[in-house]
Symmetry: C4
């Protein structure tokens, strides 16, 4: 052939394609340490709740932090657009499938009210809870200072893909180093999914990155624009960026795997791939305390011209505490996520999250899933 080379393509892996290998020593689950530190805050469980309206409202945020995790409130969702968000949420969950995207587009076109931003943050802070909120890059300059004044502890700047550099003619891009200086509180930015983008973000002075483009249950980014990196590979790459940056700067930036985690098994694999913490939406949308009342939808779902998401019926299955800590009689991995993590660590010879990074991982497409699949068909009447 010619001396022009074919584009090289590497194989990327998702949760269903890998599995963990038990270690040579077993450890009692109660001997494991799963603390997660971001800025000055120490969380007793390394789990963040997604900044989605179906998952986090102020009440959920308070409860979730009491249980050890960190919930992120979406500052551009129904909570800051509506005095009475319950009403709107009810409307969303009660609208039929075929009309829900139009409804979401309408719902999310209402203006954000500064007063409500302050009010929602205030409600969370009043409970003595660590308060984290998310804003999109386009609104960061406007909303971040308001949030800071209202007492927020951690700022999350999040869109489908966020980079350190942005080219635009319509507005001057967000300058992350400036933001970090102005805010003087931990800033987490995302989402990204490659070594290069992660490293560039880390060099802006931020404290954490969110890893994950296209993997979430309520996200259709890959169908719509062809973009997406499976989470195991994305996390592996961003974790290498963390080590590189740590060596060049001495600063440890946390890597948070966000999206695509449905079961305890997925969660454990994310840590084995290098995550410091994980962020979940749909597993928590199943909690009795979740504002979505058994439904779940994505942040790109309401894009006025190119929506990239679907409303998913997840059902309400158990109280939040049971989903996190059990005990459970459910055997599909959707409950007792923390117990699953500790058990997995014990089986894999990992006393700490950092030791999980050394656990052997194999490529082993999930035969089990297919098994269920077959069964599902055979049971069809």
């Amino acid at each position: 052939m010619s001396h022009f080379k074919l584009k090289e393509m590497e194989r990327a892996y998702g949760f269903d394609e890998v599995a963990l290998v038990p270690g040579d020593v077993t450890i009692n689950p109660d001997q494991t340490n799963i603390d997660f530190t971001v800025g000055n805050s120490i969380l007793t469980i390394p789990i963040l709740a997604s900044a989605m309206d179906a998952v986090v409202d102020p009440a959920f945020a308070i409860k979730f932090n009491k249980l050890g995790g960190l919930a992120v409130l979406n500052l551009e969702g129904v909570q800051t657009r509506y005095e009475n968000p319950e009403e709107v949420l009810n409307q969303i969950t009660q609208t039929p499938e075929t009309e829900v995207t139009s409804l979401l587009q309408k719902v999310y076109s209402k203006p954000i009210k500064e007063k409500l931003v302050s009010q929602r943050i205030g409600a969370i802070k009043q409970a003595g809870t660590i308060c984290a909120v998310s804003v999109t890059p386009a609104n960061t300059k406007w909303l971040a200072p308001i949030a800071k004044d209202a007492g927020v502890d951690i700022l999350v700047v999040q869109s489908t893909v966020t980079t350190a550099r942005h080219i635009s003619k319509s507005y001057r891009g967000l300058i992350l180093p400036e933001l970090c200086q102005q805010m003087s509180l931990p800033v987490i930015v995302g989402n990204c999914c490659s070594y290069g983008a992660a490293l560039e973000l880390m060099r802006t002075g931020i404290d954490g990155i969110l890893v994950g483009v296209g993997p979430g249950a309520a996200c259709t980014t890959r169908e719509v624009i062809g973009v997406g990196v499976p989470q195991i590979t994305a996390t592996l790459n961003c974790a290498v960026a963390r080590e590189t940056y740590l060596q060049e700067s001495g600063k440890y930036v946390v890597v948070i795997t966000d999206g695509g985690i449905r079961t305890g098994g997925d969660l454990c694999k994310a840590f084995a791939a290098g995550a410091d913490a994980i962020m979940i939406g749909s597993p928590l949308a199943q909690a009795a305390e979740a504002p979505g009342k058994g439904y779940h939808w994505g942040m790109s779902h309401s894009h006025p011209a190119l929506p990239r998401g679907t409303r998913v019926r997840v059902g309400t299955t158990a109280p939040l505490e049971q989903i996190l800590f059990g005990p459970t009689s459910v055997t599909d991995g959707t409950q007792n996520l923390v117990g699953a993590l500790r058990t997995s660590m014990g089986v894999c010879s990992a006393r700490t999250i950092k030791e999980m990074y050394k656990v052997k991982m194999i490529i082993a497409p999930s035969i089990k899933t297919e098994g269920k699949y077959l069964q599902a068909i055979q049971n069809t009447p």
Copy 2:
């Protein structure tokens, strides 16, 4: 083993097996340039409409070109065999599944009328539209001059597989260099799918190639004769041929990925694989303006002895303009194709189509599709 070597086989990839990786810089979608130039014509969107009777009639061609793309009228379809093609189209769409292939075989055995060839081209030209038409190699010598006289702007010579050389006893093969000289207008030839065949075609003096054998939604070439190359690999190979030929001749021959594109995601990946433009059938057959009225069938479907296609029910979902430019409330990637391309380019750090060629692409079998699949089963009553 013996010193005779086993045949070597390389792995080829299709749309569902790859994904794009976001870049290190994001670009506002409105900053991207997606112009496509063929001959002297500049199109504002790099999309061709397939030369299929269910997609393109003169009215559709006019509308599509006004929106920025280029529609190709099939000179050997119902438009040139029937004074009143509407009648025949109605018959095709109203015939039950089991009888439709026989009907198509009958419909397409009626003779082509030279008068209608001139008339259809005239109708398109009268609207001030760039007019492109397609002919098969066997009929090129007969129909190409008629088309030229009628004012056609771009000639497409297309069959399942077209090569620079053809061996036959029944008719002297089409000589492409002669054709190019005689016509003195842009000639696009296809389909092909390998480096060697593409390069040989380019050396005949043509201006564009169509890439794609066996991938279309309404095509069963692979089942029937075992032949087919998935589109990502086919496009990658033909794009290398384009660079090779550009270097040896100084001439840039455009590469058009034709077939198998169903969503915005597929479309974006075709560009990342090296396409200058893409040609689509079934996504446009869903337009309210499409003559197929919600159905779609392939060009090899009417072969009298060995049909290689099926009639597919695609439904009528939206006006053409909405399919191309949105806004949409559909989240599966079938609408706002141009918006999807620009968004994808922005996320992947590509300001131009040529910059898309440098975007990182990974091998990542589509887990999403399987997710939907499972859901489909569970919803079966």
Copy 3:
């Protein structure tokens, strides 16, 4: 790890995992030559009909040979056990699914009658047809001489796996070199699927081998005993054995791919993998002339203690001639198999079967099949 090495395993490929790449020259289908020579017999189509009771009876053998192919009559099936096989065949096709294996075990435990062996061969020969029959290794010494006396032209010695050497205490194994000398007519032996076994068989003086263990539609060898090699890899390996043996001996032993071929596409790929001819069962069981009346079952299906097969409902779809030569209105590759082969050869630059061996083949798991699959589910009421 230790210095003991892990067992090495190579990847093997089946029909659905590969595809053919069009060549750089196209050839008119009517310019292709598909003759197949075995011994002194020249067949105008390189297709054998499987020695299965649902496919071949004397009348079918006569018709099939008139059309250019070679049908093999099973000398250990219902034709030689029953005066009136029609009756038994009716019983088999009318028995419910759950009882059919027991019935087959009973049906095939009736003794073979020497008189019927002679009679069936006589009937075929009387029509001026090339007569081929199959026997199992265990019965070869007994039945082969009777068949020879009755005028048989080609002898097929066939069981699930047949090797040049067999270890047994209960009977002295069949000595193939002796058999070949005694019979002095072409002997085809099978099945085998590896380079080593094929080469050893060739060295016994036989004229052809059947390739295929475990791939047939009515065969469950792989589930039951774990044994099986996908047909593309099996054919590739046995074709290398043919070239090796040709070089060492000067004798050309034909390689016949037997089992797993369902469509024209599969058939074309078998030739591209190195087959001289192919043997098919289920595609021919669909012929109006097939004795199985729309059903199909395997030769190991009637094993008294360990049956390895299932009865498959294939339906009666068309006359034999149409299945072989078309014309057809079916677009799934099950009709006009010869037309498909010639078209594929034309597209792939192959004038002869031997030129098919040079056609480029790629690894490309069948996306199309999955497409239909999805559709099948969505259409479920």
Copy 4:
């Protein structure tokens, strides 16, 4: 990229992904030897029955050993917690799907009675049967001496993952070398699935290991905690550990593949991967003699906080003798497991289990399974 390397991941294979290649010599099944020796006991078939309540009770153990195999009684199941286990078993099988995990959690929280331990072992020994029992590591110090006093022949120490070293604050870990000395009878330990863990276990002085984490039909370990290694790869690795240990110590420790075997095909592949024996649950739960009466559940199913298993309906299909030795009219590989093994060995040129280790194995994802799958869908009303 950085000089930090990405975690390396090897591909692991399960039963459905490999197949055996026939050998160059065929051997009559009755010429094969499948004896299995553990300690001083010689079994005529290399099959162990899983220590699961749905599979083994004293009556089953007696019958199974008479037929040549070895059943393992679970000393921590219903047999030692309930005077009348039949009653509890009936309750388990009659409880609806949605409530069965809760019931199992309750059932298995009742205390183990020492008297019943002695009594169950006594019942088995009285019949002249080799008696094997299983205990978990946590209860080994307590229950092993009682079992020894009651006359047990073989001790199995089994949990999801057992290693030579265990870190715990709540109880001093089990010291395997001490146990082996105290018991002075064959000790089998499991489960493990890697070279390192297997080798470390072997060095403690034990006589056999159980290989398999996460593969069983009634096990959801992989979904819940992400851990699991497909059985072909796990067996291959542990077999290398056996050879390593044999060379360093002169002692041969048997490798028993436990879990995931559903058919004769799977069983044959386990031996080809290096197993000395295999342990099966669900295939035997289908026996008329099985206490589970057509149901099957796993040992981790009753975990009070994190159950990892499901109750599976397997049905009662045949007497135990027929499942092991046939004859059968079932063609899916679930009956005549011993006949299947001997036939497979004959086809693969293996006279003994050790010769099976040399049989060629290929990577060939099961197309057959998919075939059935498709059929299942098409048959959906």
